[in-house]
Amino acid sequence: MSRPCSLDSRIRSHFPMLRRQIDGRNVVYLDSAATGLKPACVMEAEHRYNALYTANIHRGRHVLSEEASDAFENARGAIAALIDASPDEVVFLSGATEAINQVAFGLRLDKLSKVLLGDAEHHSNIVPWMHYATVAWCQGNPAGRLDVDHVVRCLAEERPRVFAFSMVSNVTGVVQPAKELCRAAREVGALSVVDVSQAIGHGLVKWRELDADFMAFSGHKMYGPTGIGVLVGKRELLERLMPLRLGGGAVEVVGREGFTLKEVPYRFEAGTPHIAGAIGLGAAARFLSQIGHDALLDHQGALYRGLVEAVREEEHITPICVDGQPSLAIMSLVPSETLRLSAHQIAELLSTRFAIMVRSGHHCAQPMLQVRGIPHGSLRASAGLYTTQAEIAKFGDAIRYTSRLFGDHGGTQCVTAQSLRSRNPRGTTEMVH
């Protein structure tokens, strides 16, 4: 596996998808919050398993089974190393959604059990709690950071069993004071469950430092395969958690009268797992480890500033964000009533006209958007480690194009690419074509 370079444009050579062109234009992929592109090493790792040592894991004595088992456990180790956890704290599941469901189920909650949530959560960190328990909301500015003092007051008032929150909002990119929030939960005896899906690929997640009780993330958000994810939990808590899925692979002994479970983490991994996916995820973890947390985080910070700058003077489409708060390079924009297109239509136009891929809709965060009075959804641009400032600038140009063409300026507008270049206040020579 070739060693990834530092986070400059050469890192892009590791991502084959970036060679894709549509209508002769390079694809500008700004949807990494939905799923990250996969580096060649991840695809290679999955391919090697499928081509060279396909076998089931943990139960075979033949050499291929041992190779597969080793690779699977090495992947677990690589992930643990990335996040500063022990391998026995790392459970392979299908994704963050299953991981949160596992915790919600495994804690044996009931409708008398209260779970406190922030009001900017992803549906996967809302719905399981609604199903298994009773949800209380810690209302604040859903676009902004949770205020620790406010959360402390909410915790004191609600006395929940669980406090669940996302380390990074998938809508605004805002980074929560996660360590402080976990401490606040601990101080009132509540368990902390942190969804780190949007954080895991950007150098923010250090399990020991975070000191949460449970943590969940999806592999495909950290440039790994889809269909694989991780639940991380303190060992003593995992040992008390009831597995959501039971069956072969999770049990030690099965007799006519009952069964005994395997040790943590295996008791949560019933059935044949997504072996290739786990191995691929291990490769993704190594890839990120070689780049390093600081470089990943710095890159996101620079791109976020680029996004802010790119849309700063726009009157017809405005970002959902709060100035001055730490954020990753995820930005949601809402078209105003003076822009005669919906978020969906803007996304379609950017895709067909400029080969720029952004997401539109509710981003699985309907409560947040409802509170903000955004019933029809927003446009979201999100950067990955391969995103460049030039791509951010192209996005800004495309937003300006859309705004000039479809915005109500009180007169007629018809903007050609040529006239757009001359109006660009930043004087970039990058042509929107």
Binding site: Q345, L405, G411, Q413, C414
Partner: protein, 509 residues
Amino acid sequence: MRFGLEPVPWNRLHAAVSVELIDSDTVTLSDNRTGFAIELSGFDRGLDFQDIKDVRLTETLATAGMLDGPSSFGELLRKQAAFKRGLANDDGAERLAERLSYLRSAVPFYEQRSEEYDLSRAGGLEGLPLLRKLELRRSFEQFLPAGLPLAEGLEAGWLEFASTSGTTDERIAAISDMRLSRVPSAYRAFWNLEDDLPNGRTGVLTTPVCSSTACSVTSRNRGDRLTHGSVLFFRSLPDPFRATRDDVREFIDELGEFAPAVLLGNPVYLHWYARRAEEFGLDVPSVPLILSSYQFMATVQARRITDLYGGPVYNTYTATELGGCQIAVQCAAGHWHVRADHCLIEFLRGGHAAEAGELAAIVVTTLAGEVFPLVRYAVGDLGSRSLVLIDCMHSEWPTIEFHGRMKDVLKFGNKIISTVDLDHVVSKVAGIEFYQCFQIDDTHMVIDVIPALGFSFSRRALASGVREASGAEQVEVREVQALSLEASMKICHTKGGPDVTAVFLGQPH
């Protein structure tokens, strides 16, 4: 002497023709028997239409069937059709030249290519460049005329942002002019409707991604799906074949309550929903007029939709990127007529004009509306020029045969089989209600069939008919519960054949 037969003055206007003064020297003469009207300029106010002295005028009016005298209704229609065709031929070339002149001065895409789109330099329409989807994507804003009040039009609703669904090479964003009529003039006579439509309401049933209001058409809230107070999008499902009893009941109830005069829809969705209603014992409300759009309507579908909804169903043919123009529409006799008021079409085979009846690529030049005007746009469909002359309300509009999408053809050996070719064969086998044909390889085809309720069908008859028509060596027939959907959520009837673009357009794709 002839008893009771008085000689009819040869120069008297027929009683059914009304005269309307437009301005000081222009009148409109409207034949109330047929709806046909002509405008006369240079009108002399002293003219007595009961005793026309001007010989040239009487000749013209006689040709237009507007003078008094014995003549059957059929003869009248033929006379007026011939007159209209004459007018169309005369001004067709003029219209095109005027259109191009306008485009070269007002629409940036053509302005920037003024020499390429000069008709006289190009030697005629065939010499102008072909336009492809790629160019529409890359040059979106260049197809909007200078000075177009885009934001205002979108706000007021006379312009609409539209995008096509489907695969990457099919996707286009465009602007539609909603003021262009989706219904041909004199539609009542054109479609043999006995009565006027009872109201101005239109119900629409299509795929969730077929409309620019994609978000709303899946909403359970009826208010979200009602636009302008008169167009209701029925709630669309990602997979119509998974529609539950409650889904179907909701559609039936809304259809009954909204009672649209016109039901516009994807024919497979229309058919399937009504069939499921039948299965569930729900009465399907009658609809005075059904217009099929969005995709090809199979013969069996046309029959069943008429049976199930109690009203006639006619095909309409348009494309999202045509700026609101319609390409063709089916008359009451079932023939496709080009909407000559909206566009001009050509048929190309090997990049050159095809013979009448020869399967060819349809190339469209829009003549109506100002947004997104397209010249020689390869719309991606196949058809053929027809020489059939029909005595219908718009017999002056050329007739065509529509054959389906180019990408949906099947090809075995040198034989290209269009969707319509195959439909002709399948429609002859009794007991089939839905079908899909997949070309697997050069010799093998699979046909999935959903039989009609309570019926069986002959697999042997189907397989042998299709084998003979297509040249496929092996035809496998399967009975299924549902058909597979495209990325666009439409249901194509034939798929899997090779790319035949070069065969028709004569250039690398």
